[in-house]
Symmetry: C2
Subunit: 258 residues, 2 copies
């Protein structure tokens, strides 16, 4: 495989945690395969999690803060806070982005949500100044992988599991962030029962993760429908003759034939 | 209606924002109806968004941080950081919780996710020391309402909308947080097209919100299935004879007859 560039964004407060171990393992595994890897360890960086006026230092402080408009202006003028600009540079540098995090309350920890909220500004990741969303977005050409740990057992996140199917819970990242901005999301990788892994289970989890990392640029991405592919009406609703009977769930937005 | 206690948790950095206006409107409307209201304005409080070891000040700093175990010990010993304990007291005081926020990347802003991550500790909201989840949880007897604003048009969040149905995107809050802990979630209230509301649209939004607030304790909650109601197997999967054909989506976990 040709040499690629991978950004791993990791979000756990404990350097000896399973998440930290999986991040180190992935970085080593990918480097051993000849790739370049950069890691944004959000807790170690003391990443600021909250969007506020300080993100746009040149704005008029007397004006009402309008997050989308202010972030777009600061982005296009090259006047974002330095920590945001540095992360945008890493995303643009990358051929693939991996998000490594523990599932807290069925979504990403706040520090990682704050990485998304702050880095994916208007003018960079969405908005009138960049290519349109859902397949032609500004980050097209990049692979995206969620690697998540969860305390609950895997069956509880399975198709009929009570917590909801993992890919449905992760839809705001898989479809809302990755696909919206043009990236190609892979099926998530999950370690469940993560609070009580035996040594053997941890070794098995690493093996399984290595296999997923080996397929980072060759596995088929989730085949979400495109906005411009003729499946949606002008109000962005799926046409009635697509999936006329079957699901009422988020699978509506996945190509059934793929 | 008898007098009730309502906690509004509000998450927008701009005091002149639509979200701040809706929070003020709700507080006034509910007080005018005779209720008690407390507001946690997370940006004004400079709420710390990230879970870390400082949340559990009495833990042994040499030990590996285990978030669930450490949060449970600190909760049961009454040794949580003061800002967390204060928010837990507000939740316990309340008969209903309203979350007011702008949809950022198809979920709550990081500061609000951090309120959930930090306040809903093991021993308070889940875990072996409290009643079991999904209908008998420790916060039973409380209503819960999401009030969200979104820049996109409403059709894009409708049943077949490309962004995903609003209730599916909010499943981690509606089912994963509220229902898991025993609260009774109502259908979300949403203001869409929120970046360009006319004065008339804003007035209409307030009227619609007032109607939802009037039904806070009388509207039927989302009829999610219970874990102990006989619909799930021992691995927490919905039994095959429940919803044998239809949906493959998150509606699996809603009682079809209700």
């Amino acid at each position: 495989m040709s040499k690629k560039k991978i950004l791993i964004v990791s979000a756990h407060p404990e350097p000896r945690s399973l998440n930290a171990s999986l991040t180190s393992f992935a970085a080593e595994h990918l480097r051993a395969a000849g790739h370049e890897v950069r890691v944004s360890d959000l807790y170690a960086m003391k990443w600021k999690a909250t969007v506020d006026a300080d993100d746009f230092p040149d704005r008029d402080a007397d004006e009402r803060l309008a997050v989308m408009a202010d972030s777009e202006r600061a982005t296009l003028d090259g006047r974002l806070a330095a920590d945001i600009a540095a992360e945008q540079e890493k995303v643009l540098w990358s051929d693939a982005v991996i998000l490594q995090f523990p599932m807290w309350w069925f979504s990403a920890p706040a520090i990682l949500k704050g990485w998304v909220d702050r880095v994916f500004t208007a003018g960079f990741a969405y908005g009138p100044a960049v290519p349109p969303p859902y397949s032609h977005g500004p980050l097209a050409g990049r692979r995206a992988l969620v690697s998540v740990t969860a305390g609950a057992r895997g069956t509880a996140f399975s198709d009929r599991g009570i917590h909801g199917r993992l890919s449905d819970l992760l839809h705001p990242l898989q479809h809302g962030l990755f696909w919206f901005t043009g990236m190609e999301p892979l099926e998530p990788y999950a370690v469940t029962g993560a609070n009580a892994l035996t040594d053997e289970e941890y070794e098995a989890a690493k093996q399984a993760y290595a296999h997923r990392l080996d397929g980072l640029f060759t596995d088929a991405p989730v085949p979400f429908r495109t906005l411009t592919g003729g499946d949606y009406d002008h109000d962005m609703r799926l046409l009635p003759d697509r999936e006329p009977g079957g699901t009422t769930g988020l699978d509506l937005h996945v190509h059934p034939g793929a």
